[in-house]
């Protein structure tokens, strides 16, 4: 098996429709929709949950690749990545069940592979910075907001299940912080490149201004400052992220 594999080798059942993120955003905008589903209607919640489900699939696949791609990394790194594979596989199961709970089906909305592409960084430090800190940080934002909305609409099933997923994601961010530090110890240039990669992912996933600092019901994706602090992001990092959201179109 190649290390890493080509982006386009990511395999899906035929029931999943894959499209470029840019195309999906543009086609939504052409129809007068927001480029990224908000949480304002049952259908948009279902679409958001479906997007999370495929994101969890790609997170599982990415963590699995990290287990395979870096045989010379410390054993504890491999253990953390293997644990993450298991966690993400349970998250997929949870989100499949939530899609069912919301009356949807797997494949109901197009899948974009932008997350997967981020999970294909060739350097282990860049990968954990980008995936565990960048993408799992995004997951903290998305899940904290979803829990808030679930409370508001009185859906204890979503609220409880997603809260457990959020707890796992916080753990994954911590793993990312640990391994970013350990893998780049005594190598500031490698660390700089890894942090730069994470920043580029943060910018990309500001989703054309959808992610912002603000109340969960007022912005597309609300930055979950409390969850991020719990996950080990510093106040300086959170402020830097908020600033980056003010200048990053994606579509």
């Amino acid at each position: 098996m190649d290390r890493p594999i080509a982006y386009d080798k990511l395999a899906r059942e035929n029931r999943f429709v894959r499209m470029r993120a840019r195309d999906v955003g543009e086609l939504r905008v052409e129809q007068g929709l927001a480029p990224f589903p908000d949480l304002a209607s049952p259908e948009s919640i279902r679409e958001r949950v479906h997007g999370i489900m495929v994101g969890e699939l790609q997170a599982m696949e990415g963590a699995g690749r990290s287990v395979y791609d870096f045989p010379d990394a410390p054993w504890e790194f491999t253990m953390d990545m293997a644990r993450q594979v298991w966690d993400e596989s349970r998250h997929v199961e949870i989100y499949l069940a939530l899609i069912d709970h919301l009356g949807g089906y797997a494949g109901e909305f197009p899948e974009t592979t932008i997350l997967w592409r981020c999970a294909c960084a060739e350097d282990a430090a860049a990968r954990v910075a980008g995936v565990n800190r960048g993408l799992e940080g995004l997951a903290c934002d998305v899940f904290a907001q979803l829990i808030h909305i679930a409370k508001k609409i009185g859906d204890p099933v979503i609220e409880r299940a997603v809260d457990f997923v959020l707890a796992d994601e916080i753990t994954h961010v911590r793993m990312g912080s640990r391994w970013l530090n350990e893998l780049t110890r005594d190598d500031p240039e490698r660390r700089r490149r890894a942090v730069e990669f994470q920043d580029s992912i943060d910018e990309r996933f500001n989703l054309g201004g959808a992610r912002r600092d603000g109340a969960p019901e007022e912005v597309g994706i609300s930055i979950a400052k409390d969850a991020r602090r719990l996950a080990g992001f510093t106040d300086e990092e959170i402020e830097r992220l908020i600033k980056s959201t003010q200048r990053s179109p994606v579509y």
């Binding site: 098996m1 594999i5 080798k9 990511l10 395999a11 899906r12 059942e13 035929n14 029931r15 999943f16 429709v17 894959r18 499209m19 999906v24 086609l27 939504r28 129809q31 929709l33 679409e47 699939l57 599982m60 696949e61 990415g62 963590a63 699995g64 690749r65 990290s66 287990v67 395979y68 791609d69 045989p71 054993w75 491999t78 253990m79 990545m81 293997a82 644990r83 594979v85 298991w86 993400e88 596989s89 997929v92 199961e93 499949l96 089906y105 797997a106 494949g107 109901e108 909305f109 197009p110 997967w116």
Partner: protein, 318 residues
């Protein structure tokens, strides 16, 4: 000596060596399964691999932690011989999209049952007075591996068998036999069937029966897409063109021109919502194999029209 409760087959050195072999098998299998997840399309197979990677990592870790207690370096893997490395290389080889069953068979029908047999044999022989630390690991690992086998076999059964898979199983078993198994001494058989009756696999299997339900497609769209698929099979140029939006005609017909000939059946295999548009996947199949077309459909008054199309997949016959 043999009747003494302190009699035993394993020296400290031998025990350490065999454990390094176990760790090699568990670690390499775990890494391979992790790498395969992205290459595996079928959801139940993808998720069963995802479930088991962490268990296998823990097995490798348990063996690796035991090593320093046996005067050996911690967390060291060591294959028993070069032939076992070749066996693992062979097991890892299937990575094409249509080789999911080969991947699963290598792990769940060949390697894991062999490991269960080897572990059980070791447990029978490990001295209960001075080898309880090893025995405890075996007592944890054996039922987990047995559960993995039971779950993996259920997924394989759902995906279906073929002569190609039977031949692959034989090749792997031969390679494992040539290596003398995980311990390299031929004490455990290469191809074993283990009893998995009554093993609870509920926590290992996800989405086992989930499949695309064509009734999710709006009836009028479904009828149009199916008629369009038949027009493609029959080469009905006028019928095809009538379904395509005029300003998309060149691009869509250009995509259709790349379709291979010989299809005799059409089936909707997926449908996603994109605002008011629908992205529908249709499989055209026949003796040469099948192709999957992804079409974007949009309402034009009362009718649905294709506004974009692309060939997104090809499958060879089983």
């Amino acid at each position: 000596m043999t009747s003494s409760p302190l009699a035993g087959e394993f020296s400290v050195e031998l025990s350490g060596r065999v454990i390094r072999h176990y760790r090699y098998a568990e670690e390499r299998m775990m890494r391979t399964m992790g790498g395969w997840i992205a290459l595996t399309a079928e959801l139940p197979a993808k998720l069963v691999l995802g479930r088991h990677v962490w268990d296998c990592a823990q097995h490798a870790d348990l063996w690796g932690r035991r090593l320093p207690e046996l005067r050996a370096a911690a967390q060291k893997s060591e294959p028993p011989n070069e032939a076992f490395v070749r066996f693992m290389d062979l097991l890892e080889r299937p990575e094409d999209r249509d080789q999911t069953v080969e991947r699963l068979v290598g792990v769940y029908r060949v390697l894991k049952p062999h490991l269960v047999a080897a572990y059980e044999r070791h447990l029978e022989r490990a001295n209960p007075v001075y080898e309880p630390p090893t025995r405890r690991i075996l007592e944890r690992v054996i039922p987990e591996e047995r559960r993995h086998v039971a779950a993996g076999l259920q997924v394989i059964a759902r995906l279906g068998e073929s002569p190609r898979v039977a031949e692959w199983t034989r090749r792997l078993a031969d390679a494992l036999a040539e290596a003398g198994g995980v311990t390299g001494d031929g004490t455990s058989p290469a191809l074993v069937t283990i009893d998995v009756d009554g093993v609870n696999t509920a926590g290992d299997l996800v989405a086992l029966d989930s499949a695309f339900d064509v009734t999710k497609v709006e009836p009028d769209l479904r009828g149009r897409v199916e008629a369009h698929g038949r027009a493609l099979i029959e080469g009905d140029a006028a019928g095809i063109a009538a379904d395509v939006a005029p300003d998309a005609r060149d691009a869509v017909l250009g995509a259709y021109a790349r379709l291979p000939r010989g299809a005799n059946a059409t089936e909707i295999v997926g449908c996603a919502r994109l605002g008011a548009q629908r992205v529908v996947k249709t499989r055209l199949s026949g003796p040469p194999g099948s192709v999957v077309i992804q079409q974007r459909w949009q309402r034009d008054g009362a009718a649905w029209r294709v506004v974009a199309a692309d060939v997104v997949g090809a499958e060879r016959p089983a």
